[in-house]
């Protein structure tokens, strides 16, 4: 009897886990982060983000890439649903010529802007 209860509990946990992972995937699909613009100012690099999704985005990393270097910056930026926000990065130096900017979220989505 006890074993039956244990088996039901274990299988129940798996079903619950499956539901949680579905929820994670659903949230990831709902996220629509965009890099609107990037420009160099006197104080640093100003990047404008737009969250067009229905849930809050947590941006965790930023990439500045060109053909010779790929730089990753750890950031911690929350953008509410529908919000457009700008953030100034004093530690970033933009490379000369063409480059690509990428931002990745905690849920595993990427926003890319080529300049």
């Amino acid at each position: 009897m006890l074993s039956l209860v244990l088996i039901v509990t274990i299988v129940g946990n798996v079903i619950l886990w499956s539901y949680q992972m579905n929820q994670v995937d659903w949230e990831r699909i709902q996220e629509k982060l965009e890099i609107v613009s990037i420009q160099e100012t006197v104080l640093g690099v100003l990047i404008v983000f737009e969250n067009g999704g229905s849930i809050t985005s947590h941006v965790v990393s930023l990439w500045i890439n060109n053909s010779t270097s790929h730089q990753r910056f750890e950031i911690d930026l929350f953008i509410a649903s529908g919000e457009t926000t700008s953030k100034l990065f004093g530690n970033i130096i933009l490379p000369a010529g063409s480059y690509t900017t990428k931002a990745s979220t905690e849920r595993g989505n990427l926003a890319i802007l080529s300049a």
Partner: protein, 139 residues
């Protein structure tokens, strides 16, 4: 003593009801313990496989090094280990063992001479069997 052994061997009576119940209980408990253990092991594997999520943050075709650097982040709910990397469906050497804890990211380096302008299909396979694959164009 010998008499007692002879008497015991000559005894043709069946085992007592108490003993039979005891035996039955032992057998039932053993079978159910096995079933519980099997269920736990199978579902743990299933749970871990379901919880794997990977993100390729960046792919860098490094000039002059004959290597492709892939920045991978673990966005899942369990730690992962990369088992194989395929480029255009051919297994490649990489910096093995490559393990990532939850929310951790690192460079996965693949030793491969690449050609500028070519498109490469990179497929990363984890130990539990999760694939993450996409096409990337060399600069």
């Amino acid at each position: 003593m010998k008499k007692q052994i002879k008497r015991f061997l000559k005894n043709k009576r069946a085992i007592t009801p108490v003993l039979s119940h005891l035996l039955l209980t032992v057998v039932a408990v053993s079978i159910m313990s096995l079933a519980t253990s099997a269920t736990f092991i199978i579902t743990t594997n299933l749970r871990e496989t379901m919880g794997e999520r990977l993100l390729v943050e960046d792919v860098w075709f490094e000039e002059g090094n004959n290597e492709i650097d892939i920045n991978v982040r673990n966005v899942g709910k369990v730690s992962i280990q990369v088992a194989a990397v395929y480029v255009n469906n051919i297994g490649q050497l990489f910096n093995s063992p490559f393990n990532l804890e939850i929310n951790e990211n690192d460079w996965l380096t693949v030793d491969l001479g690449w050609i500028s302008g070519e498109v490469y299909y990179i497929d990363i396979l984890t130990k539990r069997g999760t694939h993450i694959a996409s096409h990337y164009k060399a600069p």
